[in-house]
């Protein structure tokens, strides 16, 4: 086996190998080895400060592992140019952080980084997919929290990622927006069979969205299995 590649199971798209990160000599993530299967939704749950978001940030290399690594389709992600890696492993943040301009400007941001232009028709199709038909020319400063998070999701999808990471995408929303975005995520992921790793502190939400779940505590993987096994045990 070449050090830059790992065979793994045929249906594994993303895997971590003893992934660890230390900050100021303190282990934030400790030796996590997990495989994410193609088309599945894996929920990362755990108490506050357990390292859920830190783990997610290691998956698209927004942070650097202290030891261990991540394989994307069997290739060590250190062999992939970071920009290309992040296009293939998209991320929706806890807060939408929309860029100044219109909704369509935001959708075009990712493709534009690669010198591509998202057509009006493709942009409108994405907006329809997230339930915001006709919102293209709207200034993002006039959007509600729920609408902004939908644009954020559409913006990530515009990059056609192979894996989508979501960091508590509904935690900054009110209850009604939260349910709307959650059902949208279910619909979008279900229709496209997109592989997804979602961080949530809400175990009920994890049960509604995910196929499998992993529980983190103090940066360590405590349990991993189907949602029924893990969350209803």
């Amino acid at each position: 086996m070449s050090p830059a590649s790992k065979p793994g199971a045929a249906n594994t798209i993303l895997s971590t190998d003893h992934l660890s990160r230390e900050v100021d000599s303190r282990a934030i993530i400790h030796e996590i080895t997990v495989e994410v299967r193609r088309g599945e939704v894996l929920a990362v749950v755990g108490p506050s400060g357990s390292g859920k978001s830190s783990f997610l940030r290691l998956l698209n290399r927004l942070d650097e592992p202290t030891s261990g690594t991540v394989f994307l389709e069997g290739t060590d992600y250190r062999q992939i140019v970071p920009r290309e890696l992040r296009r293939r492993v998209g991320m929706v943040m806890q807060r939408p952080f929309l860029f100044p301009g219109t909704a369509v400007d935001n959708l075009r941001y990712g493709p534009c980084q690669r010198g591509q232009t998202l057509s009006d028709a493709d942009a409108e199709a994405l907006l329809t997919r997230v339930g915001l038909t006709g919102y293209g020319s709207r200034d993002v400063t006039n959007l509600s929290g729920g609408e902004a998070q939908r644009i954020s999701l559409a913006r990530s999808l515009a990059n056609s990622p192979q894996v989508l990471l979501m960091d508590e995408p509904t935690s900054a929303l009110d209850e009604s927006s939260k349910l709307g975005v959650e059902s949208l995520i279910l619909e979008v992921i279900g229709n496209s069979k997109l592989t997804c790793v979602i961080v949530t502190h809400d175990t009920a939400q994890a049960a509604r969205l995910a196929d499998r779940a992993m529980i983190l505590d103090s940066g360590r993987l405590v349990r991993l299995g189907s949602v029924n096994e893990i969350l209803h045990a």
Binding site: L62, P82, R83, E84, R86, M93, G110, R114
Partner: protein, 264 residues
């Protein structure tokens, strides 16, 4: 009043320095009441500034009589010292000393070289060093302002920057708006100096030229020349530093190097 108390010029100078420093300390005490703690930084800067200028003044007396090439060496030493001072405003950004020194050398160095070649700055050390040091000092201040603003903006917009990175953006592109605003903000003092020249303040150089017998119109024009050179040197320095710092704010794996825990 002090002139009546001290007949010796050195004693008078030290008393005047103490009076000015006392006022600075009063400001720091007022700031302290508003929970702004600048005590140690200011006291160290005041003492350091006084010791440095006295030491350099003594050395200058010797060097100003030396050969012309010593002028170049002095300016180079000033650029390195200026780089080290303003780099502290970008703490947490790797390579900030290199960026600062290179930027000040590009900005102030280019203006000094071109203007000396054109004959605007005279080549004798007695003319080159005072004007050159003015350009370097102002370039240093502008560089410090630019880096400080960039650092604050990047820390305040970490979410936006990492969102852009997560969408596959070029790191330099992700901090572009903050580099732009840092450049603009850093030039405010230089622009305001030019705007208010002769109205709000009449700089020392012109007063000195008048005292040494220069024609008032020429003294006024030369003062404008100096301020325009300061603007050019500061602008070029800030342009280079905000261009270079964009790359240094990231690790080779294109991760944001600046973390909120790293304090100024």
């Amino acid at each position: 009043m002090l002139k009546h108390l001290f007949s010796n010029q050195l004693q008078l100078g030290l008393a005047q320095a103490a009076a000015a420093a006392l006022l600075a300390c009063i400001v720091i005490l007022i700031a302290r009441r508003r929970q702004i703690h600048l005590e140690s930084e200011t006291v160290i800067a005041l003492v350091r500034g006084l010791v440095q200028i006295m030491a350099v003044g003594s050395i200058l007396v010797v060097l100003l009589r030396g050969p012309r090439w010593t002028g170049g060496l002095l300016l180079l030493a000033m650029i390195i010292a200026a780089g080290a001072t303003s780099a502290k405003r970008a703490r947490g950004i790797p390579g900030s000393f290199k960026v600062s020194t290179y930027s000040i050398a590009c900005g102030a160095g280019t203006v000094i070289a071109v203007m000396t070649w054109l004959g605007v700055i005279d080549t004798p050390i007695t003319a080159l060093i005072p004007v050159g040091s003015m350009l370097i000092a102002n370039a240093m201040n502008t560089n410090g302002l630019a880096l400080n603003r960039f650092r604050s903006d990047v820390l305040a917009h970490r979410g936006e920057i990492e969102t852009a990175l997560a969408l596959g953006a070029d790191p330099r592109q992700s901090v572009y708006p903050y580099a732009q605003s840092s450049f603009e903000a850093s030039l405010i003092p230089a622009i305001d100096s030019l705007r208010s020249l002769g109205i709000v303040w009449i700089p020392g150089l012109m007063a000195g030229m008048l005292l040494s017998g220069a024609r008032p119109v020429y003294a006024a024009i030369y003062q404008f020349v100096v301020l325009a050179m300061i603007f050019a040197a500061s602008g070029l320095t800030s342009l280079v530093s905000t261009l270079l710092i964009r790359t240094h704010a990231f690790t080779p794996a294109e991760q944001l190097a600046l973390r909120p825990g790293i304090q100024k």
